[in-house]
Structure formats: structure tokens, C-alpha cells
Symmetry: C2
Subunit: 207 residues, 2 copies
């Protein structure tokens, strides 16, 4: 399975690298970072750059695409080169996926019309604006389209997805390899139980 | 707080990018990827490159160092340039940290002698070889030295650490921003409850 992760300026690093690590560990899976022009693409904090090793033209028909989110989404939803590549690739993908606000890039490409989807809690309620129905779950499957909630949820998505696309034993083995037995120090990651003041502070950290 | 993450060939991406994302989201924190020579450094699956934007000489006294692990650790523990930088930086750091087999790089630099530490479950029992006492916990604090278990545990370490180094409210706010409310699809990430055949298969995915 060949996975393409398109990068654009101001993507959020963990959105891409969480699922990247899961999928790159799976036997027989290959992941390629792509962009309009190969080269380093800088993240939302301007302190990390991942190299895109292929152009969109180099990889028109990946088996799977995985669109990360980040504050750069806003510009990315108007990037016709990116959107055209997604639209054309989606025609042939086995899976079309996103993490966080990456679902809005899928939406801008027109592939979420009438589909169930999710996104980061700060923006998920705006999904109907791109034709999608918002489902309040961490990972949402609708046919070959899989979307994940905010940032760290891409890890859960990739493992859930790997069990579906490959087999459960492979997913369990990768989970063990990356020692994903999460022990967050606080019960603070759920937006529905978070106090309003912290929700506001958290959104301010993103931009 | 200025955090330096040294990169070396065949590091594991999530080891670095999990805690990077947590710390880069914290207000007032800056993270810089460093290497012997600035430029892209390629990961363990040869499909991701992160750019080191500074050389070791450029950043001799960061407030904190965070050493990722990966199969490249074996070569890194013999890389005198890297070890000298760690040794000298550690003299002045407020925090010296690692994820996964990165603890063996700290050990090779001589900074774990007599210290409690942890590492990826596949290698943690070898910690006494570098003078450390292995503690079977996901995140281990010993004075200013903080070590984490395998790969994904760097996220838990960074949040736990952020609460200690900054304050709990900041850590909770970052946790909410990255929507870290983990929902792994399986209960398969704990090596102590995993069957032997899967432990063996998981180790085979790493190299």
C-alpha cells in the first residue's frame, strides 16, 4: 500500500507524523510526503520542516492519501494545485483520509459532499459548510473516507484504519512496537468536558 | 525555554515529533532541531526527513535537550561529536530528556550513571549496561533527567514534564489543543501483557 501525505505550509507536525509512524511501521506499506514542489515544508510553529520527496505530478495515483491539518489549512483550501491533485487522486484511491482540519481541505476539494466526517473540536461544527455531516467521534469512517479529530487523534485513526485495511493482528503489532499504551497525565484532552476558559486558551495556542 | 532535539540518521519520527508538538505549542517555548551539520536527517524508515536548522556548535547551551530513539541509536552511541555535545550541554541544562532508545545515547554520553531511567520495552533491561537503574514506568524522573518508554510515550512524557517545568494549567491546555484524549482501538500497547509471539513480531518491525 502506497500512502501519500501532502504537505503545505503551516501544517501541524503531529497530524502527519503520528499516522506516518504507524503506517510506515506496517509491513508492505510505504509512505511518501508530497508537495507541489519537492523540498522542505515548514510547519505551523516555523520550527520544523519535513522534506516532501515527490511532487504532486510524481505521484498522481497513490493507494491512499492522508491530509494533515494545521493553521495552514485556511490557505490550503484555496490552493488549486493541491485541491486538483486530491480530487484526481481520490478518484482512484482505496482510502482517502485526513487528520484535524485536513478534513476541510478534503471538503474544499469536493470529496466530502454528503459524507460523515470529523475534524478538530475547534472547527468541526463548520463541516456542513463543505457539505459534510459532522459526527462527534474521534475517528469517522464513511466508505473509503476516514477522518480523524484533532492533532493526536491521527494515531488512533491510523491504528483503527490499519486493522480495517490490513488486519487486526498487524495493527496490534504496530501498537506494541510503538508502545502505544497511552497514559496522559491529566484527563484534559476531551473538549466536551473542558471548561470554556481552557477551550479558548487552547484555540489561542493553535494560531 | 529553549529545547534542542538532536537528530541522527535512522531516528524514529514520532519519538521526536510527539514531544516536539507538545512543547512547541507551549507559550514561550522554542524547539530547535540540531545535528552535527544542519540539513535534512533521514529517519528509520528512510521515508521522512526533518531539517536540522542548527549545528551542535550553534547551540551549545540549550535549556533542555530531548534525545529521540530509533534503530540509529546503535551508531549514535558511538558518535563522539553527538556525545560530546550532550555531555557539555547537560552540564548547563535545566532538563535532560530522552524518548525510547534515546536513553542509551544519554547513557553513552555518561549522564545516566547511577540514575533511574527507562527506554523502549525491547531494550530497557539493558539500561544497567550504561550505568542506569531501569524503572518500569512510562515516564521516569530522576532530578533533571527525564526518560520515556517507547516511541509514543514521548507525548505522555512531554505533557507530564510540561506540568512540572511550567505549570499544570499549561499542560492541560496543550493537551486540549492537541485533543489528546487517546482512544486506541486495542489494548495492545503494553509489553507486559502482550503475548511473546507478538513481542517478537513487534521488534522485527523496528529494524
Amino acid at each position: 500500500m502506497h500512502v501519500a501525505i501532502p504537505l503545505y505550509p503551516r501544517f501541524t507536525a503531529l497530524d502527519a507524523v503520528g499516522p506516518y509512524t504507524v503506517l510506515a511501521f506496517a509491513p508492505g506499506w510505504t509512505v511518501t510526503f508530497v508537495a507541489a514542489v519537492p523540498g522542505p515544508v515548514i510547519d505551523d510553529k516555523a520550527s520544523l520542516a519535513i522534506t516532501a520527496t515527490a511532487s504532486f505530478a510524481d505521484l498522481p495515483r497513490p493507494d491512499m492519501i492522508l491530509v494533515p491539518g494545521g493553521p495552514g489549512t485556511q490557505a490550503a483550501t484555496g490552493d488549486q494545485q493541491l485541491l486538483s491533485w486530491i480530487r484526481a487522486a481520490h478518484e482512484h484511491t482505496r482510502w482517502t483520509t485526513s487528520v484535524c482540519s485536513g478534513s476541510f481541505v478534503l471538503g474544499a476539494a469536493g470529496v466530502l459532499a454528503g459524507r460523515k466526517a470529523t475534524s478538530h473540536w475547534g472547527w468541526a461544527e463548520q463541516l456542513p459548510a463543505v457539505g459534510a455531516e459532522h459526527v462527534k467521534e474521534r475517528v469517522v469512517f464513511d466508505g473509503k473516507i476516514v477522518t480523524a479529530a484533532g492533532i493526536s487523534s491521527g494515531i488512533d485513526m491510523a491504528l483503527t484504519f490499519l486493522a480495517e485495511a490490513q488486519d487486526e493482528e498487524t495493527a496490534r503489532t504496530v501498537q506494541l512496537a510503538i508502545e502505544y499504551d497511552p497514559q496522559p497525565p491529566f484527563n484534559a484532552g476531551n473538549p466536551h468536558t473542558a471548561p470554556a476558559f481552557r477551550r479558548e486558551a487552547a484555540l489561542n495556542l493553535i494560531f
